[in-house]
Symmetry: C2
Subunit: 197 residues, 2 copies
């Protein structure tokens, strides 16, 4: 006889999370049961609360608790710069870096011929709409440096041509990176984009 059906159900659900498999889900659930009041109950409550309150910002696609996310709400962030990211995780990564002071637009993925993802599936029409109606000076493409990400970047740049200045994140050697461990593509991109010191 293995874990009770409630436990089994919880383990099966936990095992679906990214980064957890059946084995680590079992370990996590055992720890939760042992730390019931410190971890299990707060976690169940936090999940129920997020399930109730979390919603997509109608403007940019970020996750917040109201129709507009705090970034779209904030007057300070309306500096004319709009950063395009694939996913909310990328938006959070940009925010952690703490240098970008404008607003965001979350696409919700990348164009992909293989997966039949076209511009309508992403939030590209909404982006074009925002560029037309908001006061935006510069669109900064912060898409992942993958084939699909770069395809999407070129598509967006084409769509916005002539309406607004479009830039993209620099490619090169990451801070703390060692040349010996870098791929050829990164080194050649860094060499092409070299700067005078």
């Amino acid at each position: 006889m293995t874990p009770s059906s409630d436990l089994e159900n919880l383990i099966a659900l936990m095992a679906k999370l990214p980064g957890l498999g059946p084995r680590s889900a079992r370990r996590a659930v055992l720890q939760l049961v042992k730390k019931r009041s410190l971890q299990l109950i707060p976690l169940a409550d936090a999940m129920a609360r997020v399930a109730e309150t979390a919603r997509e910002c109608l403007n940019c696609g970020n996750i917040g608790t109201a129709d507009l996310c705090p970034i779209c709400e904030s007057e300070k962030r309306g500096n004319g710069e709009l950063c395009i990211v694939e996913d909310v995780a990328d938006l959070w990564a940009m925010e952690r870096a703490g240098v970008f002071k404008g607003r965001y637009h979350v696409l919700g993925g990348t164009l992909s011929a293989l997966d039949a993802v076209g511009p309508e599936e992403l939030r590209i029409p909404k982006l074009i709409d925002r560029v037309a109606t908001e006061e935006i000076r510069e669109v900064i493409l912060a898409l992942n440096a993958t084939v699909d990400g770069q395809t999407t970047a070129h598509y967006i740049a084409d769509q916005l041509e002539g309406r607004v200045s479009v830039t993209s994140l620099a490619q090169g050697v990451p801070i703390g990176g060692e040349l010996d461990y870098l791929d050829d593509g990164t080194i050649s991109a860094a060499l092409k984009a070299r700067k005078t010191l």
Copy 2:
């Protein structure tokens, strides 16, 4: 502005689970928010249910939903064999193997001089009590092959000497194991315990 405080709280709680760090907790929470009705709500419900129902078996220490776990309840499992494990995870591992047909006793850890864990902190008194009152022919020590595990095994064997037959899991080459990748200790244990074919 980073994730809302509800989300941040959920991420912080998820990051405390074994096998998840801040980064994977963020990924997991984002996936949960995206799959609200398929994953987030069922998971919150499953956790609340387990928090309410899960309890330790008064007899063996297994986790179940009643005073006695299904294994202690089942008449069939009372075959006179008692398997001693450190943790509920080990009990589940034994059950998955599906060959042991007796009952279990979960110690809840191992003796450890460094961490000041003595016999009273574990469920060793209860074990001695069970050996005295239940009809037990054989105590099978299935403790981890670590220093603390083996110290605990020797302590228990000493305590039970003369009252019941005490055995322990065989040590040797694991199924599918290659000698080249095994440590010296395992090879020498396997050689000492060699069998005629």
